[in-house]
Amino acid sequence: MTAPTIVPPMTRWKVTVGDYHRMAAAGYFAGSRVELIEGEIVELNALGGQHIRCVALLSRWLDRAVGDDLFVSAQSSIRLNDRSEPEPDIVVLSALPEGAAPPSPEDVLLVVEVSDTSLAADRDVKAPLYAQARIPLMLLVDLQQATVSLYAQPGADGYRTRTTYGAGERLVFNLEKSITIDINVDSLFA
């Protein structure tokens, strides 16, 4: 038997980031990995080995490249606005959060999403949200196709440019002008 779905025109009740955090503090979501996307609390997929490997390697290379100037976090959510607080796989921050709230978009230079089954959601839902929040760069790693796409030039309608790199190619781009990231694409995939 298939599980019932919420069919249109029904709409889900929407949560604010304030209520989302009050609920988390009150013990909701214990044992679940969730993020807040446009007022809806959605579950993060269970992580497979390839995903974990890719995130670990990318985190190491990014961390080495940025040195002491920037911060690389593989467990950071970002407060994009009052209705969205996603948790990308990796973020590169220009400053650490001062208070209780997660980093705001002004302090985020790069988000990385590593996708296997979640590719469509990462590309069609989360990338536009990051672009609307004016996060300068996004990397989308597609584990199934063994490609990595660099999204740049954020705007209200999404990122204006996307460049996809595949087997045998090097992904090279700059963070904050002075820092060059240079990644051998093949090494991301086991």
């Binding site: 919420i6 029904m10 959605v42 069609d124």
Partner: protein, 186 residues
């Protein structure tokens, strides 16, 4: 956007704690369906008229043998607490608890814009919870669907009553509920 992700599922207890802590208020027009908090549609004039008319008819028929509950919650499972338009309940003191499926003699949904949702998601939910008899009043096509013999896979029996006929409930042996269909539609 057609991308569908798995949403966090709330239990009925968490849902109630959200009311206690003010995240949801008494004014929030929501119901808990399979762990998801869903907004309820605004009630239009035809819908209100139909619910009012049915309320009067059911109250008259029920006397002291049943309680008529209008747009109130019913706790169907750990993950579902919908608010049907009308319920006929076994007469007892419910205290501060929502009634459960075993308390339900008859459940009625009045549908206009929500017909597809009521006939799929919600009807399956009622069948799985063992709600013995459900009526769905379809305001758009001026018909009433009656569903009996709930199973985990849906209702075994359904009937359709058109304008000009009557619909009767047989779940309670002591109640005589017979509604002329044409009265439901303005």
């Amino acid at each position: 956007m057609a991308v569908e992700r798995v949403h966090y599922k709330f239990t009925a207890d968490e849902y109630h704690r959200m009311v206690d802590s003010g995240i949801l208020t008494e004014d929030s027009r929501v119901e808990l369906i399979e762990g998801e908090i869903v907004e309820m549609s605004p009630i239009g004039g035809r819908h209100a008229r139909c619910v009012n008319w049915l309320t009067k008819a059911l109250v008259n028929a029920a006397g002291d043998d049943a309680i008529v509950s209008v747009q109130n919650p019913v706790r169907l499972s750990d993950l579902s607490e919908p608010q049907p338009d009308l319920m006929l309940l076994r007469p007892r003191d419910y205290g501060d608890q929502s009634p459960g499926p075993e308390d339900l003699l008859l459940l009625i949904e009045v549908s206009d814009t929500t017909l597809a949702y009521d006939r799929t998601t919600k009807l399956h939910l009622y069948a799985r919870a063992g709600v013995r008899e459900v009526w769905i009043v379809d305001l758009i096509h001026a018909v009433v669907f009656r569903y009996l013999r709930p199973t985990s896979a849906g209702y075994r029996e359904s009937q359709q009553a058109d304008r000009g006929s009557t619909i009767a409930s047989t779940v309670s042996p002591v109640l005589r509920i017979e509604i002329p269909i044409s009265e439901l539609f303005a």
